[in-house]
């Protein structure tokens, strides 16, 4: 997952043609529609790559 | 919403919601000064002279834009207000050339008036002042922008009312100015010289060139009369000093032109004073014209005409009338010819309009504009086909623009881009000659999508069943190749026209000589019948005529087969009525038409011709044409005109006539409105009004006519003509123009026709097929009608004539 718009796995459905109302929250707190450590890990990796500490992100 | 109570200068008043403070004050007769306010334009709020004090408001309020609110207390001349107004005036004066002594606007200048009112005589700022060069690049008016106060009214008129868009604000701040794009000269811009800017400028920034130095406003006598050019018949004021017209301005409150004009009405009158005006009767002797007395001329005419009649019979005599003559002249002329025993009377250019007349006669049973010009401004859809109204009848162009501004759809079908195309919601660039196919296809779409007004069709028309079957062949897909349009375009245009509650069609009769255009008229009539767009306001079929009295001349019976009001000579009862009134025996055989004579080569028939204000030689090909040859070969030719035209040059007798501004008479415009025109100046030399010449001539023929003034002529004609029966000079003077049918004294006139029944009872659907024959070399647009004018009004000097073609070209976008 390189950008938040990328799907973390095939369960993710959000796109501009087929939007998911939890999209924004899901970027940082997700996955919301299903349980998956791997998917959560993908997100954490993305955030960590950019945010060096909690001052850089929202919590 | 209920009315609102406010107090203005201590006076309580109740007004409608949405009223501005300025309007409320005016209702009370309180005069708040304004520069940039114009009732026709959305309020600008620019000049700030109209500011008033509103209690509890933070700053002063511009009364021209501020709507009233309940309980508002307004002071229009408080100290604070007066101080602000003085400041505005002082600022304007500080940047304005104070040359009131020679300024043409002195005496009717708002800046001058308000400075007088508030005691502002100068400013002592002593700073920079504008120093712009004058633009006098064109033949008509001078633009001195040093005097401009940037009120913006001219911009509003040019952009919104007329649509020429020649001027706008340029630059900004202290160097802001009004002018053409890139500060070009007005001559090189899209200006059409309609004069609306000049008429609405509150100061002396715009001055007609001819007027400059010729007279002060208080030295001038204003006479209201009717413009002699096109069939709209705008009401104009002739400003006269020392028997000379020095300016023309539009009349403001009238239902025809409402304070608007075009270049022809505004500027096309200086021929009145031309040195080439005919001033004495002329008789040709040994190939040269010799001045004679009226008695000699008229006596000579009678001798020669009676000789021709003796030798060849009355059928050898022909009278050729002009659609520019007054009703009275035309009535007397056809009475004269008919009293001499023949029905050979016609007007040549009427022929251009035959398709319109014949087509409408067939479909409706009468031939005239079905609705009024003013109604166009309130229609919901306009379909313009084979016409260029902005060019041929500018007033109609302005009304269409207004309708579009108010939300109407504009559908234009033309091979070229005509003047209104920038406003069109639907522009169909169809192939010339395919107009009938398009209209039939539109009818097809309307029926297919059930957009027709079935109730109207059932109750008010006949021939629908056959029409429906015939039009089934014209599905839009089937005409795409012939018209060059897509199916969608045709469908959308049809829908736009048919779904409006009231829709108008505008076409013109073009320059045709071929019979092709009658088909188009019938096809358009079908469209109007199909959608119930007849017999109600702001709908209808508009085929406006070219010349100013084309309608009137036809109404007066200057036609070979009918008498006044289109009463047919074949009808015994009709002939008997006229015989009784005139004391003559009218021939029951219809006469020959001008077309018969000039085109269909029945030339040997006519031996003597009387021509009134017409110039067939110029219109039909010049000195080497067949028409010229025909006229040369006549035994006897009399021409009455105001100039020595090409045709007059061939005559045996030339009679000098008075021009429009020199005689009284009525004209009937294209919306059937009879309007009374007053003389403003005296005719030069021994020129006389046409009606007087014909009456005098009739006397020489031994006919006992007894007319003291044109009013008598009109009264006689009206008594014989049902449509005019209720119209008289008294009513015209008191009530203004009246639209026929006006059958009785207390009838108000008829703005739109066919409210109850059609002329023929029910409207008729006709089956129209095939191509509309295009005129060789020219599309079905109306360049021709305008150039007809130019050839008839050749008295305009060269620079003006070139501007007229400028006018034609400038409107092409």
């Amino acid at each position: 997952m390189k950008k938040f718009i990328d799907h973390c796995c095939e369960k993710c459905t959000h796109s501009k043609e087929n939007p998911c109302k939890d999209f924004v929250r899901c970027c940082l707190e997700g996955p919301i529609c299903h349980e998956s450590k791997a998917c959560a890990e993908q997100r954490k990796e993305m955030v960590d790559r950019v945010a060096l500490n909690e001052k850089f992100t929202f919590c | 919403m209920s009315a609102i109570n406010i107090k203005v200068d201590g006076i309580e008043i109740e007004v409608e919601p949405g009223t501005t403070i300025l309007q409320a004050a005016r209702q009370l007769g309180i005069d708040i000064p304004t520069f940039c306010y114009d009732p026709e334009l959305p309020s600008n709020g620019a000049c700030r002279i109209c500011v008033v004090e509103v209690e509890k408001a933070r700053s002063l309020v511009a009364s021209c834009v501020a709507p009233v609110a309940p309980g508002m207390v307004i002071h229009t001349e408080s100290e604070r207000v007066v101080s602000a107004r003085k400041a505005v005036l002082t600022l304007m004066v500080a940047n304005h050339p104070l040359d009131c002594i020679t300024c043409q606007k002195t005496g009717e200048c708002k800046l001058q008036d308000y400075c007088y009112r508030y005691g502002v005589s100068d400013s002592d700022f002593g700073g920079e002042v504008k120093e712009l060069s004058h633009d006098d690049s064109n033949a008509f008016f001078i633009r001195d922008m040093n005097k401009c106060i940037l009120c913006g009214v001219c911009v509003g008129k040019c952009q919104d009312v007329v649509g020429a868009g020649a001027i706008d604000f340029t630059r900004r701040g202290f160097v802001a100015n009004v002018g053409p794009p890139y500060e070009d000269r007005i001559e090189d811009s899209t200006c059409v010289f309609c004069g609306l800017c000049i008429d609405s400028c509150p100061v002396g920034a715009l001055t007609p060139k001819y007027l400059l130095g010729r007279g002060r406003p208080w030295e001038v006598e204003k006479t209201e009369t009717i413009c002699p050019y096109c069939s709209i018949g705008c009401n104009i004021n002739l400003h006269v000093k020392d028997n000379e017209v020095i300016e023309v301005t539009p009349v403001d409150n009238n239902p025809v032109n409402r304070g608007h004009l075009c270049v022809k009405g505004k500027f096309g009158w200086d021929y009145l004073k031309s040195r080439d005006r005919l001033t004495k009767p002329l008789v040709k002797s040994n190939g040269v014209f010799v001045e004679v007395s009226w008695g000699e001329a008229l006596g000579y005419i009678v001798d020669q005409v009676e000789e021709v009649i003796d030798r060849y019979g009355s059928e050898a005599l022909m009278g050729l009338c002009s659609p520019k003559s007054t009703n009275e002249e035309s009535y007397l002329f056809q009475k004269l010819i008919r009293s001499l025993g023949t029905n050979n009377i016609d007007s040549y250019t009427r022929h251009c309009h035959a398709p319109a007349v014949d087509g409408m006669m067939e479909a409706f049973g009468s031939a005239a504009l079905t609705n009024s010009i003013e109604e166009l401004a309130s229609t919901e859809a306009v379909f313009v086909i084979a016409a260029d109204p902005a060019e041929s009848h500018p007033i109609i162009g302005y009304r269409i623009r207004e309708a579009v501004r108010k939300g109407a759809d504009l559908i234009i079908a033309d091979p070229d881009l005509i003047g209104l195309t920038d406003l069109a919601s639907h522009y169909l660039s169809l192939k010339a000659g395919s107009e009938t196919e398009l209209v039939n296809a539109m009818a097809n779409v309307i029926l297919e999508e059930s957009l027709q007004d079935q109730a109207f069709i059932d109750k008010r028309t006949e021939g629908f069943a056959e029409f429906e079957k015939a039009v089934a062949d014209y599905a839009p897909q089937s005409v795409t190749e012939k018209t060059g349009l897509s199916e969608d375009e045709i469908r959308e245009a049809a829908r736009a026209y048919a779904s409006a509650n009231k829709a108008a069609i505008i076409s013109t009769v073009g320059i045709d000589h071929a019979g092709g255009n009658e088909k188009l008229v019938l096809a358009l009539a079908n469209l109007a019948l199909l959608t119930g767009n007849l017999g109600k306001e702001s709908a209808g079929l508009y085929l406006p005529y070219g010349e100013n009295n084309l309608q009137g001349v036809s109404d007066m019976g200057a036609l070979p087969a009918v008498l006044t009001g289109y009463q047919h000579v074949k009808e015994k009862a009709v002939r008997e009525k006229f015989n009784r009134a005139w004391g003559v025996e009218i021939d029951k055989k219809p006469g020959v038409s001008a077309a018969d004579v000039f085109e269909n080569k029945k030339k040997n028939l006519i031996k003597a011709m009387l021509i009134l204000d017409e110039n067939p030689v110029s219109c039909l090909g010049g000195d080497d044409s067949d028409a010229a040859a025909l006229l040369k070969n006549l035994d006897f030719l009399v021409v009455q005109d105001i100039f020595m035209t090409e045709t007059a040059a061939l005559a045996d007798v030339v009679l000098p006539a008075a021009a429009f501004a020199e005689q009284q008479g009525t004209y009937t415009n294209t919306e059937r409105r009879v309007q009374l025109s007053y003389p403003a100046v005296e005719a030069p030399g021994e020129a006389y009004p046409g009606w007087a010449i014909i009456a005098e001539l009739a006397g020489w023929f031994g006919l006992e006519w007894n007319y003291n003034d044109p009013g008598d002529i009109f009264a006689e004609m009206a008594s014989l003509t049902p449509q005019y029966a209720g119209i008289s000079y008294e009513r015209l003077t008191e009530e203004g123009g009246l639209q026929w049918p006006c059958p009785s004294d207390n009838h108000p006139g008829t703005p739109y026709l066919y409210e109850g029944r059609f002329g023929r009872g029910l409207g008729l659907f006709t089956i129209v097929e095939g191509e509309t024959a295009p005129v060789p070399g020219v599309g079905l647009t109306v360049k021709g009608a305008l150039s007809d004018h130019v050839c008839q009004c050749q008295s305009l000097n060269m620079s003006k004539r070139s501007v007229i073609s400028n006018y034609i070209n400038a409107n092409r976008r």
Binding site: C27, V50 | A84, A87, M92, A94, F125, L150, G173
Partner: protein, 605 residues
């Protein structure tokens, strides 16, 4: 994962100080050491402290390096990045700190600031929507979508957000008008035509955090019922326009702009319309005319834009900074946080652009209610050169000046209005005794004169005449009547102009006359400009007692108008002197004085 972030300021101030060259040098150094991949470089938004630019902030260490030059980069890379040691030489130093300061909490410029609107500026990559989301972006919008539009208006109203463009009208109330206006089609417009000379608050937000504006507009659109929006951005901000375009593209890709946004059935489309060099187009109705393709001239109101605005439809127009505040209010718990800052009548923070004779020039964001004293001395670091504070001009060409006597005035909408100034867009021009108040008024008026659209008589003609009078006064041609004329002309222009430009442009003149009438009178009656600005109205005079004869001024004078030997007191030849001021800048003894023409200095000056 990056080891460190290097946030290089790429905004106006630092760019003109050469941050581009600094960035290039940095990249070169990193590549030379082969460590470029370990560090994230962002040419980001403005940290505000333009006076000390170019600036690089190193995260997560939070070290603030300033006044950088390209040649400093090798030391920075080797010593700090590779060696792990802070480069003291490049830290902030100033008379307001005892030792070189590391970061925000130790630099006095930042001590009283609070970053709300500028929360992301200098921390995120402005061209990354992901970073904006990581910082909590678009959560406020999601929350707003779950609320009823009227409730959103109410929240903004209760939070007390007032328009940051200058007028200070209640934003929530404005939204409510449009929400209640009848009609299916409505518009939201962002006024990014920041025109006040010297103002660049909006520019920094647009360049540094463009998504905050998008989010603000989306929330506004939902609150008023609009489906389409325009950002009217002046063409002189090409970087802002570029960043906005990228942001819009990204938001469209993410489904945050377009149709059925996040499945709530909400459609919103955003366009950018570039201005064309007209200050007057910052006025609401002129701006709308410009978007409609017409000449940018104001229109009379009523009708108000809320009822009939863009293309005749109900429209809400908001300033950039106002919109940037909106997500802060709509986020979870945001409104409660927002009202804690500021005063009773003016909630939240305001971004100010500090300019003029102040030591710390740049952008600062402070809570409303901070006093002028605090801004000038705590944030601003006091007057440059240790001179005395004379006045501060607030609100640009529409504003007025606040004299030194009112130094404890709290800065909020209402107290500024009472003092005869306005908040305006937030420009603060600080003045010392070397600022001529007549010249200041003249400067602002010449700006508005050039920018007047020309539509209405009072503004078009009146400002020209006022300017002519001020010009005459500053050239020594003033007459006593001029002050009365200025007063009455200004009153008329204020009372009867069509739009805000005209109604407020006399303010600088009126407020300088109000507080500094003596200066005007000196100019007129004594032909004397005590600030030493109006060239015809003063002389320079060297104090013979204090002059040490160092010849610095002799060498500096471009027209050789100063005579004097070493160690001897120097003298200015008045006939040759052009009053260019080069000498007074160079004098180390501060012994060149300003005097009336043709007279010696009153040394008690």
């Amino acid at each position: 994962m990056y080891e460190k972030h290097l946030m290089i300021c790429g905004a106006t101030g630092c760019l003109s100080s050469g941050s581009n060259a600094v960035e290039e040098a940095l990249v070169e150094e990193l590549e030379k050491h082969g460590i470029k991949d370990k560090y994230r470089l962002v040419m980001g938004g403005c940290p505000g402290f333009c006076e000390v630019g170019p600036i690089i902030v190193v995260y997560p260490d939070e070290v603030f390096y300033c006044r950088l030059k390209p040649k400093d980069m090798s030391e920075l890379v080797e010593k700090h990045l590779v060696g792990g040691e802070i480069v003291e030489r490049l830290l902030y130093k100033g008379p307001d700190v005892d030792a070189p300061a590391r970061f925000y909490d130790t630099i006095p410029f930042y001590a009283k600031q609070k970053f709300n609107v500028l929360r992301n500026s200098g921390i995120v990559d402005p061209e990354s929507i992901d970073e904006y989301i990581m910082r909590g972006g678009y959560r406020a919008f999601t929350r707003a979508l779950n609320l009823d539009p009227a409730a959103v208006c109410e929240e903004v109203k209760q939070a007390g957000l007032r328009g940051r463009g200058g007028a200070g009208f209640s934003t929530g109330l404005k939204w409510e008008f449009t929400n209640k206006a009848p009609g299916d089609k409505k518009y939201v417009v962002c006024n990014a035509d920041e025109g006040d000379p010297g103002a660049f608050m909006d520019r920094s937000i647009l360049e540094g955090d463009p998504h905050s504006i998008l989010e603000g507009m989306l929330i506004c659109g939902h609150a008023v019922g609009a489906s389409e929006g325009y950002i009217y951005c002046r063409a002189e901000y090409p970087l802002a326009i570029k960043r906005l375009r990228i942001a819009i593209e990204q938001a469209e890709e993410y489904g945050l702009l377009g149709e059925n946004i996040l499945g709530f059935g909400y459609n919103f489309k955003l366009h950018i319309k570039e201005g064309a060099g007209a200050f007057v187009c910052g006025e609401e109705t002129a701006l709308l005319a410009s978007i409609e393709g017409k000449r940018g001239m104001p229109r009379p109101r009523p009708p108000f834009p809320a009822q009939s605005g863009l293309f005749g439809k109900p429209t809400t127009i908001n300033n950039v900074e106002t919109l940037a505040n909106v997500p802060l209010i709509l986020k979870e718990g945001g409104a409660a946080e927002f009202v804690k800052i500021g005063t009773e009548g003016s909630k939240g923070t305001k971004v100010f652009a500090l300019a003029g004779k102040i030591r710390n020039t740049g952008l600062c964001e402070v809570p409303m209610g901070i006093t002028i004293r605090e801004i000038i001395y705590d944030v601003g670091g006091g007057i440059k050169g240790g001179r005395d504070f004379k006045a501060v001009q607030a609100g640009g060409p529409s504003g007025g000046c606040i004299p030194a006597e009112q130094i404890d005035l709290p800065i909020d909408y209402d107290s500024l209005n009472e003092a005869g100034a306005i908040m305006g867009s937030g420009g603060l021009v600080v003045m010392d005794e070397r600022t001529c108040m007549v010249d200041l008024a003249r400067y602002f008026l010449s700006f508005t004169q050039k920018e007047s659209c020309g539509k209405c008589t009072p503004c078009r003609e009146g400002t020209k005449r006022m300017l002519e009078i001020l010009n005459r006064i500053s050239e020594g041609q003033g007459t006593p009547r001029d002050l009365d004329t200025l007063d009455s002309l200004a009153a008329s222009i204020k009372d009867s102009s069509l739009c805000g430009l005209g109604q407020t442009c006399p303010n600088p003149v009126l407020s300088t006359i109000r507080y500094f009438k003596n200066e005007y009178e000196e100019h007129i009656n004594e032909h004397y400009c005590r600030a030493g600005v109006c060239k015809e109205l003063f002389n320079y005079w060297i104090d013979q007692e204090k002059c040490t004869g160092c010849t610095a001024c002799v060498r500096a004078c471009p027209v050789d108008a100063i005579e004097g030997e070493k160690k001897e007191p120097h003298e200015i030849i008045q006939e040759l002197c052009t009053r260019c001021g080069s000498c007074i800048e160079k004098c180390p003894q501060d012994c060149i004085l300003i005097t009336r023409v043709g007279s010696e200095a009153d040394v008690s000056n």
